[in-house]
């Protein structure tokens, strides 16, 4: 029976080639998108998994709540927190380990003492307990010796890069920061890419020195702390002791109320509020968003199938009637139709696999992640495909099967099944649903494109074009060479201006401090501090509204503030602020100027209150404004001079434009995704529409012929055939508008600088959908209307 059903199914699919192709095309594209989305989500969900104690591992994070309602949070903790935690929570925590991120120059000499390798590396100062918390795979050595200073652990890849072969690495040593030598005591296996801490070089925490080692008031996002919970301890039971802990240690009252929380390891990758060392998070919100889009795509493809199948059902009514009087049970007919749907879905799945494989390189590129479409490596993909096939086949096959098997045999045999029994009402509803989804995606895409354009073109308060940011070392010897560097680089042709600073006006590197304005009492909010020399304003093109730039100085003497700071302090006239005293964490100076507001964050966030001052010990970046025509040569010259001035360091540079663009990386990815998915959903919907109009045209051939004989013009006939489709798409637009409005305004609320929700994208989406409908439908209806009337009528 099954074999026969299958045979009949394939013959039927072959007979109705157009519908089969439309269905397979739609289903396979929809399925391919679903498989890709699944693979992506699967990859994202695999972060930080596979550790023995993963359920008991937590990261300690910090928060500050301010009186004005602002909250600030950090992935880092004050440096004294780890030892204090170890001491006070010994009953609840098995292990506590600090991990400190740093960057430095690694130098390796060969046997003869010649320099073999000099490179800038990201390193982590880690306590040995860290390796009790995380059971990394050890290839050589063990963690114990890390308690001794000047010891290091490398990953396999780094050890191979440094010493040729990781097997020879243990016992060898390298020089770090032109200062200390570190001996390799162990090699661990490379950490997978889906890890929130990209550890490659581990240095003994004993070597870590910082003047803030005992200060609770200072907190850097580079100092994280991980803990391993004792077995049987409930993490919620730790909040009360933690509150006591905070009260005990934070004796100096800052403006913000400090707090610490335990964040589960499984949450780190999904919480953008705190971030992590790997620098990528995937909010669950976006994962759900992708799931919804996948469901949309699949639903549209299934609706195509249902519509075409029910439309076709009329032409199959005779077969159904005959089968019934031959003694077929309704159940058997349902099984037969589902067999057809399943074979179609399976064929679509094969095509989907091909499409997935073809789309994968683009996907890898877009997300910059390592994925492979390999069901042996990731058996879950196989399970997903099986589940997808079953769901799609049932979703799209069950309703038509139910309708068709329900035909009354007496009517079916006489071909008297009315067009409506094929579910014309439902079919219309489904088309409306399908197009509503399509229009929602079109509108969403238009808004995303507009918002991205708005952000790109919005003035950010300074001129970021043709500015190169070159890292510079800042130690006592290097500082003496700053003047030489500056004067030599100013002579490079094409260099217009240069400044030494901590970071550019807009930077992901922000420092906040307590401060007092014109009084001894601290303000109830913090100020964002920036450090740069006297050329900072000219180089970045910052405009003054009052006062002047500060004069040349190596220490903090004068401050320049921004308008927002004055606004927050209720100083209406910028002139009034000039000459007033500003005290920022103990360093006081005079305000000499007020600059126009500029964006110091991405446009998702507002502008912070800012104070800028000179401070030679804070210069880590040299910003060079170049003539845009001479960038290439200028950069080469700068690198040459730099290497000459700092021979023991490694040159690295970037462009301000790229830095700013990188803030919007995730929006760019989202924009691309939306464009692709909107394209796909439009395609699926419209081939479905084409199938439906083909069917209607075929069904109404006789009517068209009679009308033609009665004198209807081609235009009138096309109008008649198109009318209901245009109406359906119009109604779909009306349904889609409020939905799209809700989604779009929610998304835009995430941006401080955003476009207004205007009517135009809605109107454009309507025009696009109506025009494409008109074209799709007319292609087919024109043919029907122009057909020779005699051909249709002579068989009667």
């Amino acid at each position: 029976m099954f074999k026969l059903n299958l045979k009949i199914a394939l013959r039927n699919l072959w007979k109705n080639k157009t519908y089969t192709i439309i269905n397979i095309l739609g289903l396979s594209i929809g399925m391919a998108c679903c498989i890709l989305i699944f693979m992506f989500i699967n990859y994202q969900m695999s972060y930080d998994k596979g550790y023995k104690n993963e359920d008991q591992i937590y990261r300690v994070v910090s928060t500050w709540n301010y009186a004005d309602g602002n909250n600030f949070s950090s992935q880092g903790v004050p440096l004294p927190l780890a030892p204090a935690l170890r001491n006070d929570f010994s009953a609840q925590l098995e292990k506590v380990s600090a991990i400190q991120q740093a960057f430095g120059i690694v130098k390796i000499n060969d046997a003869k003492g010649n320099e073999k390798l000099k490179t800038q590396e990201r390193t982590f100062y880690i306590e040995p307990e860290f390796f009790d918390i995380f059971d990394f795979k050890w290839l050589a050595g063990q963690a114990d010796e890390l308690k001794n200073p000047n010891t290091t652990i490398l990953t396999k890849e780094t050890a191979t890069r440094f010493f040729g072969d990781w097997k020879n690495a243990v016992g060898k040593s390298f020089n770090y920061q032109n200062n200390e030598n570190y001996k390799v005591i162990g090699v661990i296996d490379d950490l997978p890419k889906n890890s929130s801490f990209p550890i490659r070089i581990v240095l003994s925490y004993k070597n870590y020195k910082n003047k803030n080692m005992d200060r609770w008031g200072s907190c850097s996002s580079s100092s994280e702390c991980y803990v391993l919970l004792k077995k049987g301890v409930d993490i919620n039971s730790l909040s009360a002791p933690m509150a006591q802990f905070v009260n005990k240690y934070y004796t100096d009252k800052g403006p913000g109320k400090e707090g610490h929380h335990f964040q589960a390891l499984s949450q780190i990758h999904y919480d953008p509020e705190y971030g992590n060392f790997a620098g990528n998070t995937m909010p669950m919100k976006e994962i759900y968003g992708l799931m919804v889009i996948g469901a949309f795509l699949m639903l549209t493809a299934c609706i195509n199938f249902i519509n075409l199948a029910t439309a076709q059902s009329i032409s199959r009514s005779k077969e159904i009637g005959v089968r019934k009087v031959m003694g077929s049970m309704r159940k058997q007919l349902i099984v037969q139709f589902l067999t057809e749907t399943f074979s179609l879905t399976l064929i679509a799945l094969l095509f989907a696999c091909v499409l997935t494989e073809a789309a994968l390189p683009g996907m890898r590129n877009l997300f910059n992640i390592d994925m492979a479409f390999n069901i042996f490596q990731y058996p879950s993909i196989f399970l997903f495909m099986v589940a997808l096939t079953v769901v799609v086949a049932c979703l799209s096959g069950f309703y038509p099967a139910l309708v068709m098997s329900g035909f009354s045999p007496a009517l079916a045999i006489k071909n008297k099944v009315k067009a409506n029994t094929g579910g014309l009402g439902l079919r219309k509803v489904l088309v409306v649903v399908q197009f509503a989804l399509t229009v929602v995606l079109i509108i969403g895409t238009l808004f995303i494109i507009n918002q991205m354009k708005y952000i790109r073109e919005r003035p950010i308060g300074f001129n970021p074009s043709a500015i190169a940011l070159v890292d510079i070392p800042n130690d006592s010897i290097s500082r003496t060479r700053f003047d030489v560097l500056k004067s030599r680089i100013m002579q490079v042709p094409g260099v217009k201006n240069l400044t030494l600073c901590m970071s550019a006006p807009s930077s992901s590197n922000n420092n906040e401090s307590n401060f007092s304005y014109n009084s001894s009492k601290d303000a109830d909010f913090q100020v964002n501090t920036k450090v740069g020399d006297e050329n900072y304003f000219k180089t970045f093109g910052l405009d003054f509204v009052a006062g002047r730039a500060f004069s040349k100085s190596d220490t903090i003497r004068e401050y320049v503030v921004n308008e927002t700071l004055l606004k927050r302090l209720n100083v209406p006239n910028p002139q009034e602020a000039v000459g007033k005293k500003l005290n920022i964490s103990g360093r006081s100076g005079q305000i000499v100027g007020v600059v126009k507001d500029f964006n110091n964050n991405s446009l998702r966030d507002g502008i912070s209150p800012i104070a800028i001052s000179t401070y030679k010990k804070g210069y880590y970046t040299m910003a060079v404004k170049l003539d845009s025509k001479q960038i290439m040569q200028g950069m080469a010259d700068i690198q040459k001079i730099w290497n000459n001035v700092f021979p023991e360091y490694v040159y690295s540079s970037s462009f301000m434009d790229d830095e700013i663009n990188s803030y919007y990386e995730s929006e760019k990815i989202m924009g691309t995704l939306f464009k692709v998915f909107a394209g796909v959903i439009i395609f699926i919907s419209f081939i479905g529409l084409f199938g439906l109009i083909s069917f209607v045209a075929a069904q109404r051939t006789k009517e068209v012929a009679i009308r033609r004989v009665l004198g209807a013009s081609t235009f009138e006939l096309v109008k008649m055939l198109n009318g209901s489709f245009l109406l359906m798409v119009f109604i779909a637009n009306l349904v889609a508008w409020p939905l799209a409005y809700v989604f779009v305004s929610k998304w835009l609320n995430g941006f401080t600088y955003r476009i207004n929700v205007s009517i135009w994208p809605f109107v454009i989406a309507m025009c696009i959908s109506l025009i494409i409908t008109l074209i799709t439908v007319s292609m087919r209806s024109l043919r029907a209307a122009k057909a020779n009337a005699i051909d249709a009528l002579k068989y009667e």
Partner: protein, 226 residues
């Protein structure tokens, strides 16, 4: 075999009852070959459909093999189709996607006949109707008469007690029509299959042994012949 008691059938349209059958009472015995005749729209086909349980009467009762089947559930009805009733249609109604062989096999599959038994029964039917050479062809590759032969073979495959035929020769040329009628006569005589056919032609009716004439939904004449 078939007993109809006071069968009425009407369609209500805006409160007006359009009667198709009125007070039809008759009995068809095992082994009879009955022809139902009458002008167009007299209710012949409706009567046949009621006999085949494709339609239900508005009033009256219907007994099939002494059993009241007036309002029968789907399951029971299908049980009767599988084992007792075979249908032959004017437009043959073969399934286009199936070969001749598969068309004949279909009712046997629904009846869960074993594979070996199926093969021998189909081979027997193909042989008897001289269509062995056509078994792998599709319906649209056959002439009308050949298609109707396949249709009858299919109806006979399940070895029914009665065949209900709605103008079985209506679409055929006279030579082919004669062949079909001869076949019916032979089946009735030699195999004892009860046959009820609807027909327009006096000549075709002559092959049977009883003619029921219907006019305006009422039995006008019930004539035994031969």
């Amino acid at each position: 075999m078939i007993k109809l008691e006071n069968i009425e059938k009407y369609y209500a349209n805006k409160g007006v009852k359009n009667y198709v059958l009125r007070h039809v009472t008759t009995q068809i015995n095992k082994g009879e070959f009955v022809s139902i005749m009458g002008p167009s729209g007299a209710g012949k086909s409706t009567l046949l459909n009621i006999m085949g349980m494709l339609e239900e009467p508005t009033y009256g009762s219907y007994f099939f093999n002494e059993e009241d089947v007036t309002h029968l559930g789907e399951r029971k009805k299908i049980e009767l189709y599988r084992n007792h009733i075979g249908f032959v249609f004017q437009a043959y109604h073969l399934i286009d996607e199936m070969t001749v062989y598969e068309n004949i096999e279909a009712p046997l599959l629904y009846k869960n006949v074993s594979s070996g038994e199926r093969k021998s029964r189909i081979a027997d039917l193909l042989d008897r109707f001289n269509i062995v050479a056509k078994k792998d062809l599709f319906p649209n590759q056959l002439s009308g008469g050949q298609q109707q032969l396949v249709g009858i073979a299919r109806a006979l495959a399940a070895q029914p007690a009665i065949i209900l035929a709605d103008e079985p020769t209506g679409n055929l040329q006279s030579v082919q029509a004669e062949e079909i009628m001869e076949l019916f006569k032979k089946l009735n005589r030699e195999d004892g299959i009860t046959i009820v056919q609807v027909t327009h032609s006096e000549k075709n009716a002559g092959y049977g042994n009883r003619i029921i004439t219907i006019e305006d939904g009422v039995i006008k004449e019930d004539l035994k012949i031969g």
